[in-house]
Structures are given as C-alpha cells and as structure tokens.
C-alpha cells in the first residue's frame, strides 16, 4: 500500500511542481519586476534580490520597490489606457462577429447526418492545425491594395479604385474572425450535437413555428457552448499580437502589440511587466469564468 501511495503522489507532484515553477512563479516574478526600476545593467532592472547578501540587504531592496510603473502606465498622457480600452472593444466586437459567423455553421453541422459529421468536424479542425502565422499571412496577399480581393472586385467592375483594407481595423477583425473561428465552432457544435431532437418535434406538434422553437429551445440549450466559445475567443483576442501587427495599421492600438513594443523596442522590462500585470487584472474575471465553464464541461457530467 505504501508503494501505491507513493506512485499516486508522484503522478500529482510532477505536473503540479512543473506548473508551479514554470507558470505560477513566473507571474510572481513579473509582479516583482513591475515594482522595480529600469537600469542599464544585466539584468536591466533593480533592485535584484541576492539571498547571499543576507537579510539586511534584502530588506533594503524591498524598500526600493515602488508602484511608479503603474502610475506611468495608468496616466492619461500615455497611450496605455486607450490601448486596453480599444483591445477590449476590438476583442468584444470580434467575439460577436465570431458568434454570428460560427453559429450557423455549427448548427448546420449538428443537423447534418451522422455519417457526414466526422468529415465536417475534420474540415473545421484542419485549418486550426495549420500555422496561425501562415493563416494570418495569407490574408496580407488577399487584402493588400493590389491584392487578390481588389483584383477580383476590379475584374467584376464593382470598384474603380482599390479598397484600403489592409492596415485598418477592418483587416484586424477579418484576421481575428478567420483565425479564431474553429475555437467558436467546436464548443457550439458540441453543445448543439447533444440536443435532443424530440424537443423540437414536440414544439412543432404543439404548433410552435420553427423560428420560435429555435429561440425557446435550441438557443437556451446551446448557451453553455456559446459561453465557452465566446470566452475561448475573447480572452486571447484581447492580448493578440500577431494579427494587429501584420494586418492592422499604425493607428490600430492593441495592448499585446503595445506590450511587445515596450519590451522589444523601448527595452523597458519593468513597464512591460506592469502592462502585463494590469492586462491580467483586466482578464482575471473572464479567465475565472472560463475555468468554471471548462470544469463543468469536463468534470461535471
């Protein structure tokens, strides 16, 4: 029995310790560095804590921590607050668009014959396996002024001068909807697929129109999928970097891009840490909601 207990303990401990060391501890470090100041040194911030220098030195270093970076990030003079706001707006609008585009597809998949469903599911998942970067890149060639979309519209005679889509917010919306669509479709599909068809038949027998039946039966029953899909798309979209960077314009303000710039161009590790901590605070409510949805989905059958 002792060996068994030991084995059990090991199965928990290895992934647990791994995540503590490489997921939780890094956040504490980010928090600590967000309270530090930039320095021209290696590493480029101070204070640094060295256990070897004893308790007094550590205590002195603690005194040097300050919330200065947060003041900088939260001041109206800088673009950070605007960037948080516009990221939330862009992610929010994209999530609604995703739901509008994804729901009819998931619905049609769930209504198709049992034989066809695995193939359709495969077709939705396949683009998700191909590189995210490649999929975003593909849109540059389509949306650019001399790109394929403009060539096509020109050919049809719909336009006489090229549409400016690349390097605008519209391109960012297209990019997000395109890249995240499988994440929206899959939870919706799994909720809709479980639905009992006899409920709709009963409604029809009792004189309910198909449209009313949809709103009274299908939609409420699909809500868990709607929540899961929306959170799964909204949260990463808020911190998105690649899409606004490649498809957006210079005036597309998103916090992921700002954080990246702060880190790699301005080389301020402390300010980027403060930006990351605040972003996490903004996202903590949706993340906790998502965890509850996920937990119920996997564990509470």
């Amino acid at each position: 029995m002792a060996a068994k207990a030991k084995g059990r303990w090991l199965v928990v401990a290895v992934p647990y310790l791994w995540l503590l060391a490489l997921f939780l501890v890094p956040f504490l470090i980010v928090f600590k560095i967000s309270l530090s100041q930039d320095a021209i040194a290696q590493p480029p911030y101070f204070p640094t804590f060295a256990l070897s220098e004893g308790w007094a030195a550590i205590k002195e270093s603690l005194g040097e921590l300050s919330f200065e970076n947060y003041g900088y990030v939260l001041s109206w003079d800088n673009e950070f607050i605007e960037a948080y706001g516009s990221s939330l707006v862009i992610a929010g609008i994209s999530t609604v668009l995703l739901l509008l585009v994804g729901y009819p597809i998931a619905y049609a998949m769930a209504r198709s014959s049992k034989a066809l469903r695995p193939t359709l599911l495969m077709l939705v998942i396949l683009p998700f396996w191909t590189s995210f970067l490649i999929r975003v890149y593909a849109w540059i060639g389509i949306l650019s002024p001399e790109g394929l979309l403009n060539q096509f519209l020109f050919f049809l005679g719909v336009i006489d001068h090229p549409l400016e889509i690349l390097a605008t917010d519209t391109a960012v919306y297209i990019g997000i909807v395109y890249s995240y669509l499988p994440f929206m479709i899959l939870p919706l599909y799994s909720a809709l697929e479980k639905m009992d068809d006899t409920l709709l038949e009963a409604a029809a027998d009792l004189g309910c129109t198909p449209f009313a039946a949809f709103w009274k039966i299908t939609w409420p029953l699909s809500l868990p999928g709607v929540f899961a899909g929306c959170l799964l798309c909204f949260i990463p979209a808020v911190g998105e970097f690649v899409i606004p960077d490649l498809l957006g314009g210079s005036d597309t303000l998103m916090i992921g891009k700002v954080l990246w710039t702060e880190f790699s161009v301005n080389r301020s590790w402390t300010v980027s840490s403060a930006v990351a901590v605040l972003l996490l605070l903004v996202l903590v409510v949706p993340i906790v909601l998502y965890q509850n949805v996920q937990q119920r989905e996997v564990e509470g059958r």
């Binding site: 597809i105 590189s131 970067l133 593909a138 949260i235 990246w260």
Partner: protein
C-alpha cells in the same frame, strides 16, 4: 438532430468552409507563381521551392523548430496525461483548485503574458537562453492542451474495467499500461499531435524566451513577412500545410480504423 438540411444550413456550410479554405488555397496556388510579384500570375513554376532548398537560414530554423516540437510533444504528453489522471481519478485533494486553475488558465492566457513571464523567470534564475528555454516554455503551455484532450476521454470511459483489474490484484502502474492506456491511446496520440503543432506554430512565446543562436521557423517567417509577401514564404507555408494535412488525415484514419476494430473485438467478446 438527424434530419434533412435546409437551404440555409447548406448555404452556411458552403460559405463557412469557403471562408476557412479559400485563403489557404490561394496561398498554395501562388507559391507556384513564376513571378516575384506575389499578386501577378506569370505562369506555373516550382522555382521558389528550389530556392528554398538553397536558403540555409530557413533550413536551419526548420530543423531547430522540428527538434523543439518533437521534444515538447513527448514531454508534454507525459505530463499532460499525468495531470489528466490527477484531475479525473484522484477526487478532492489539497491544492486541487490551484492545480486545475493552472491547467485551464494557460489555455486562454495571451501569449505575450506567458512569454514575458517565462523570460523573466529564465533571467532571474540565470538560465542560458536558447533552444532549451524555448522547449521548456513550449512544454509548459502545451501540456495543458494535452491534459484537456486526454481528460475528456478519461471521463467518458468505463471505470469498472480499471477496477476489475485492480480487484484481480494488478498493480496500479500495470493497470494503467495494460488497461487504461490502450483505451485512451487515441486521445493521447491526438494530444501529442496537438502539442507538436502548437509548438511548431508558436511565434510569440518563442520570440520572448529565445536567446542568441536559436531561431525558430515562425520567427524567421515573421521577420520576412514584415518585409512583405514573397513567393518563397508561400512555398514554405505550402510545405508546412502539406505536412500537417497528411499527418492529421493519416492519424484520423488510423485511429478510426483502430476504433472500428476495437468495437468489432468487443462485439465478438460479448457474443462469445
């Protein structure tokens, strides 16, 4: 819901899949363009594929990426499966909420936060940045995806099989390898593949955690894409898409065949 599709259903499927696939198809077609200008068609040519084979930087990056992805997928599959067993089989234990939180949060955590926090960890402990830091970072976020995939299989399977083996005196470890693993194997395999492709695909986390000397393919592609669209990049992308498509479809056919055979064996056992 097993009924005839309405015209609305068919339209949404057709438009939806056109939206999902058209950009990829166009990208592939234009990789065979003879012209350097990506958007002007100048005849069929495999010129850019030949050019690729001479681009050593790109080949180096591809090799680094494949090694990172392979190690990541293997380690993440083991860790993720362990985590999945913990979450489905161990009931309540001290610190469980924190554990499941740490599993689900990385699934939606923006890449920039994960990347930055891991970089700062590696700097704080003075770990030389490069190949191994990218690999450690990738294992950390992909193991959570593996865990969710394996977990969804574990909750649906019949536990009495495991209990029977244990009752008959089979040690837990052996029970896992003889009874549990064969049943959840399709999920473990798709977990491995998911970890592999997520690692292959990652740009942001790798850019944060890398050091001198380790450049991955997405990083190389990204730096070239910023300079504009080139047919050479289209060719790289086409090769990657081709590999992924073949592997995913192949794996799904294999797991489906296994599933069918298993069901046949079960039926035979029940009849006999």
């Amino acid at each position: 819901m097993d009924r005839k599709l309405s015209w609305f259903n068919v339209t949404s499927l057709v438009l939806g899949f056109a939206f999902l696939y058209l950009p990829i198809v166009l990208l592939v077609i234009y990789s065979f363009n003879a012209s350097r200008l990506v958007t002007v068609w100048a005849g069929f040519s495999t010129h850019w594929y030949g050019e690729l084979l001479r681009n050593e930087q790109l080949l180096d990056a591809a090799w680094v990426t494949l090694r990172v992805a392979f190690i990541t997928a293997c380690v993440a599959t083991v860790l993720g499966t362990m985590a999945a067993i913990t979450l489905t089989r161990y009931g309540r234990f001290y610190g469980r909420t924190l554990f499941s939180g740490m599993i689900y949060a990385p699934l939606v955590m923006p890449d920039v936060i994960t990347g930055l926090s891991l970089l700062l960890l590696f700097v704080a402990v003075n770990f030389d940045r490069g190949f191994w830091t990218i690999t450690l970072a990738h294992i950390t976020f992909t193991m959570c995806f593996v865990c969710v995939v394996v977990q969804s299989r574990l909750v649906t399977f019949d536990r009495s099989l495991e209990e029977a083996a244990l009752d008959l005196g089979c040690p837990p470890l052996k029970t896992f390898f003889v009874v549990t693993l064969p049943i959840i194997l399709p999920a473990v395999v798709s977990g491995w593949m998911l970890a592999f492709t997520l690692s292959l695909d990652d740009l942001v986390i790798a850019s944060f955690t890398t050091g001198p000397g380790a450049t991955t393919l997405p990083m190389r592609i990204y730096s070239q894409v910023r300079l504009g669209v080139t047919p050479e990049i289209n060719a790289v992308c086409t090769i990657l898409i081709g590999i992924v498509t073949v592997v995913v479809i192949g794996a799904s056919i294999i797991t489906k065949r296994q599933e069918v055979e298993r069901q046949k064996a079960e039926r035979l056992a029940a009849a006999g």
